[in-house]
Each structure stands twice: as C-alpha cells, then as structure tokens.
C-alpha cells in the first residue's frame, strides 16, 4: 500500500492542512515562540538569557498541550469523531495521525526557536551533535504535552473549555518546574518540564555526557545555586520518556472512556 493511503498518514495530512490553512493560528502560534524569545533576550540580557533559553524552548513546546486539546475537542463536539467512528478508521489511526501532525508542528516551532536562538541571537552551544540531542529532547517533551492535551480534550466539553484547562495546567507547572526561573524545591521533580529542561540545558550548554550527574533546577550561570542529584542525565532522559509514555497512554484511556457511549 502506498504510504499516502495509510489512514494515520491521511489523518495527519488532513490535520496539518487544517492547521496551515488557519493562517491566524499558524502565525500566532509560531509567532509566540519568536516573541517570547525576543522578550526574554531583551529583559534578561545576553548572559542570563543563554542559560534561560532551554527553559524557554520547553515552555513554548508545552503549548502543544493547547493545540492537541483543542484539536481533539473540536472533533468531539463537531460530530466528526462520531462520524469517523462509523467508518473503518479505528481510533488507533486517529491518535497516531494526531500525534504525527502535532509532533511535526512542534518540531517546526522548535526549529524556529533554534534558528532564532543559536543562529541569530548567538546563544552558545557545545556542538552540532549536542544540538541534535537537544532537539530530540524538546520534541519528546512536546509529545508528552500532546498526551496531556488528549487527556484534557477527553474531559473538556467544548474546545473553549479545553483551551482554558490547558492554560490552567501549563502556566503554573512551568513556574513550579523551575524552567523559567530558579525554583529550589522538591516540587520540581514531579513536573515533566524540569527533567526535559535540565537534561537539555546540561547537554547543549555545558556539554555534559549522558552519564554525568544531573543537577537541581537552578539555572546555571550568575544566579545558579545548583545541587548535584544522585541521578545521571540518562536517568533524567528516562524520566522524560516515562512521563511521555504515561501521558500518551493515560490520554488515550481517558479519551476513549469519555467518548464511549
């Protein structure tokens, strides 16, 4: 079978067309990443900015939560989900297609931030290989954000409510995770963004290897008071993977349960 006849690919293709053709959504969601980066560069100054940049990438990637939550909630309330349920589509393809399209959009967003941060604003980094690893970590975190989005869409009755719940989740969690500002507290370990940001930061800025120790949430650099943790970067990466898998599986279970009549 032709790849384009694969149902999940078709669903992803349709989702991407849907996103691209809503040009306001496209401009403002991608523009948000640019605006956010420039604002922080302007207010923090170059030296602090370079340490805060990984946290910013993780923050903007978390916006995937809203996108996925709204996308699924729209299908649910418009009747399209029910229509697809009367076809041999299969929910498996629906989720896979959504994951593919959301991951592609998140990757595009991260790419724009990388170009802006590393190429235009000259944020220092260890090497191209480390940047690739950083990109992978950011995308992985983005997928976990999609999982949370699916959970939210299962609970929310309308796309508007889904949007509100998503904001209600990711605004506090990004402060509590210490991603945007140092936060020395055990709370950070319960938040997915901390792990993604910390591994990303230590690999891309400090050039640490996967078996070097992980540090607490404080930003490195002028204000940093980072404590060494009894876990390596590899362990941290496993935590990110575990969070991602857990959110995706939980998302699918909750969505299935809430949309089964």
């Amino acid at each position: 079978m032709n790849l384009l006849e694969n149902k999940a690919i078709q669903i992803a293709n349709k989702n991407i067309k849907d996103k691209i053709r809503h040009w306001q959504y496209l401009v403002f969601s991608l523009g948000f990443a640019v605006m956010f980066t420039l604002l922080f560069y302007f207010f923090l100054g170059r030296e602090v900015f370079q340490y805060a940049f990984p946290g910013m990438i993780i923050y903007t990637t978390a916006a995937g939560t809203t996108s996925a939550a709204i996308s699924f909630a729209v299908d649910k309330t418009s009747g399209m989900l029910e229509r697809l349920d009367t076809m041999p589509t299969g929910r498996k393809n629906l989720f896979l297609g959504a994951l593919l399209s959301e991951t592609l959009m998140i990757s595009l967003q991260i790419l724009i931030m990388f170009i802006l941060g590393y190429a235009v604003l000259q944020v220092p980094f260890k090497g191209i290989f480390e940047i690739f690893i950083g990109f992978f970590i950011a995308v992985l975190f983005g997928i976990s954000a999609v999982g949370i989005g699916i959970i939210i869409s299962g609970i929310a009755k309308t796309p508007e409510i889904a949007n509100a719940i998503a904001l209600f989740y990711y605004m506090p969690i990004l402060f509590l995770s210490g991603s945007l500002w140092p936060f020395e507290s055990a709370i950070v370990f319960f938040t997915p963004p901390y792990w993604a940001k910390q591994v990303f930061l230590q690999i891309t800025v400090l050039g640490d290897g996967l078996f070097d120790p992980l540090y607490s949430s404080s930003l490195f650099g002028p204000t940093g008071t980072a404590q060494q943790l009894p876990i390596t970067l590899f362990g941290g990466l496993l935590v990110v993977i575990a969070f991602t898998l857990a959110f995706i599986i939980l998302g699918i279970i909750i969505f299935q349960k809430k949309t089964k009549f």
């Binding site: 384009l4 149902k7 349709k14 009747g79 089964k260 009549f261």
Partner: protein
C-alpha cells in the same frame, strides 16, 4: 409476510437503550429488507436517532441486539462499519478542506486506493453538482455543504445508508436533486434508512415506514397501508360562482355512497363546500364527475386535501409530528 434470512439487511431484536430513568428506545423489533428504503418517522426525542446510533455501533444498547448485514452490533462493529454509510443531520465536514479533499479523505478511510478515491470522488461530486469547486468547503452555501455532507457518506458505495434529515435546509431544486439521487441508489440495491420530518419526502421515497414515539414503534407498513389503516378521509373544498349551484351539488352528494359528509364554510360573500370522502384518487374523479361536472357549469375555486402521513401520526398519537 415471511422473509428469507438472506434478504434481510437489518434485524432488530427487542433493542433497548435507557439513559438512567429515560427509556430512549424501549424494546424495538424490526426487519428491514435488502434494497428497501425504510423511513423512521417520529417527533424530536422519540428515539429515532438513538436507535440509529445503536445500529451504526456508536451507542451500546442497554438490552437486546440487532444484526446489520448479518453482524451483531454487540460483537461485529469492525465488519458493520465496512458496510454502512452515515449522513448525519448536522453538517459534519472539514471546513478548511476543499470538497474533493473531504470526500477523498472519507474514501481512503474506507480503504480505497488513492486512484480509486479520486475517481469515485469526481463521479459523486459531479452527480451532486459540486464538482470543480476549488475553494474551501466553509465558503459553500448551506445547501452545497449539505450535498457535500451526503456525498461523503456515499463515496464508498455502502450496502446500507443511514440518512438523517438529508434535505433539511435545501432549496426545492437541490432537494429534488437529492431525491433523484436517493431513488437512483434504491435502484442500485442499496438499503436506505431515512429519518425525516418531511412527510412528503417519506411518502414519495419510502417503501415502508415505521412511526416511533416514546421509544416504541407504534405503527409500520407501506405509506398506502398506513394511510388506509390510520389516516383520515380525503377532502375536497369547492367555492361556487353561482350560489344556486351549491344547493344542486349538495343534493347530488346524497346519492354518492363514498361521500362521508359535507359542510358549508362562509368565505366573504361566497359559500364554500367542504366534502369529505373515502377512497383514493379514483373516487375523487367520480366525485368530480357525478357531483359537479354533470350538474353545474363552473366553479370558482377548488382544493383537494389528500390523506397524509401527518394525519396518520396525528391519529395514532394525538399530536403533530413537529410538536
């Protein structure tokens, strides 16, 4: 009538769906033959949508079962969805996709190759008069969106088609286009389950009709059977130019056996006669001949009100279908 098992498209056996205290569907049993156009009529909240959502495997029944093309709705979802097309009442299209993109998407979801999907899409969009539109579906008129909605449920040529108010909101020309297409589908042996409020639509298209009220089937049969069994008498309303003619006609009506009764209605200065009679169009012709043409020269105005499915429902339930 006994029907062989092979000729049955849908067999519903004591199907029930209860939402807490509400008995949305309460013990429905039906057999729908292959190639038949079967209409389900009932007021809002009667249970027809719930019934169809169970048959299309979206809703799980509280009790009972149904076989759709030989597969149980409880265990055969995977097979059933390959054979059915559903056209929902609410227009369910992707608004930023073009008409052909919407239809092709559905075709591929049904397992067609890209080439097949393209060919079938072109054919069906031509049939529905929306081929060649290159703009997004959200820019279509309401009528065109509704036709696209229907085309999406037909592109893969389902064996059973569920149509929920397919012509709601369409102008008369578009409505006729859709009716013609539905008649054409009947000729191609597709079983059609039509849910509609439009009595004229149900009467002119259906092979058989079931009236549903409060979750139960209250009557079923062909449109003619239902009208004969539960309908009202036909009526003819005649206004006369010469008032003397009215008295002549009244005298003649006494001798026509199928005339049930008549009454005079005052319409300004002129008098009008409302004549109720039994039987169909043949009796109408006889009434015109024996009661009017043989005795008077001319009438001012004449209206014929035929016994309708609306009357059937009214007589069965004491309420109008749209109440």
């Amino acid at each position: 009538m006994s029907v062989s098992k092979d000729s049955i498209a849908i067999e519903i056996k004591d199907l029930k769906k209860h939402f807490k205290e509400v008995k949305a569907v309460d013990g429905v049993s039906l057999k729908i033959r292959k190639g038949e156009l079967f209409s389900i009529l009932g007021p809002n909240g009667a249970g027809k949508t719930t019934l169809v959502r169970m048959l299309t495997t979206v809703l799980t029944p509280t009790a009972g079962d149904a076989n759709v093309y030989g597969f149980s709705i409880l265990t055969g979802k995977k097979e059933i969805v390959k054979n059915i097309g559903v056209c929902p009442q609410v227009i369910t299209i992707y608004e930023v996709l073009k008409a052909e993109e919407n239809v092709e998407f559905i075709a591929i979801m049904h397992g067609m190759t890209r080439k097949e999907a393209k060919e079938k899409t072109r054919t069906i969009l031509e049939a529905f008069g929306i081929a060649g539109r290159k703009d997004w579906s959200k820019r279509f008129s309401g009528g065109m969106q509704r036709r696209l909605n229907l085309a999406m449920s037909l592109v893969f040529e389902p064996k059973i088609l569920f149509l929920d108010e397919p012509t709601a909101g369409l102008d008369p020309q578009a409505r006729r286009l859709v009716w013609d297409y539905i008649r054409d589908l009947k000729n191609r042996d597709i079983t059609i389950i039509l849910m509609t409020h439009d009595m004229v639509e149900a009467d002119s298209l259906s092979d058989r009709i079931a009236f549903i009220d409060q979750g139960k089937i209250i009557a079923k049969g062909t449109p003619t059977e239902l009208k004969e069994k539960y309908g009202s008498d036909n009526a003819l309303e005649v206004s006369f130019i010469n008032q003397e003619d009215l008295e002549i006609v009244k005298n003649n009506l006494k001798n026509i056996p199928f005339v049930v009764n008549w009454s005079e209605i005052s319409r300004k200065e002129r008098k009008t006669l409302l004549i109720s009679f039994q039987g169909g169009l043949k009796n109408l012709m006889r009434l015109l001949q024996q009661g009017l043409i043989d005795n008077i020269d001319e009438v001012e105005n004449m209206k014929f009100r035929q016994n309708s499915l609306e009357d059937v429902f009214l007589n069965l339930t004491g309420k109008r279908l749209r109440d």
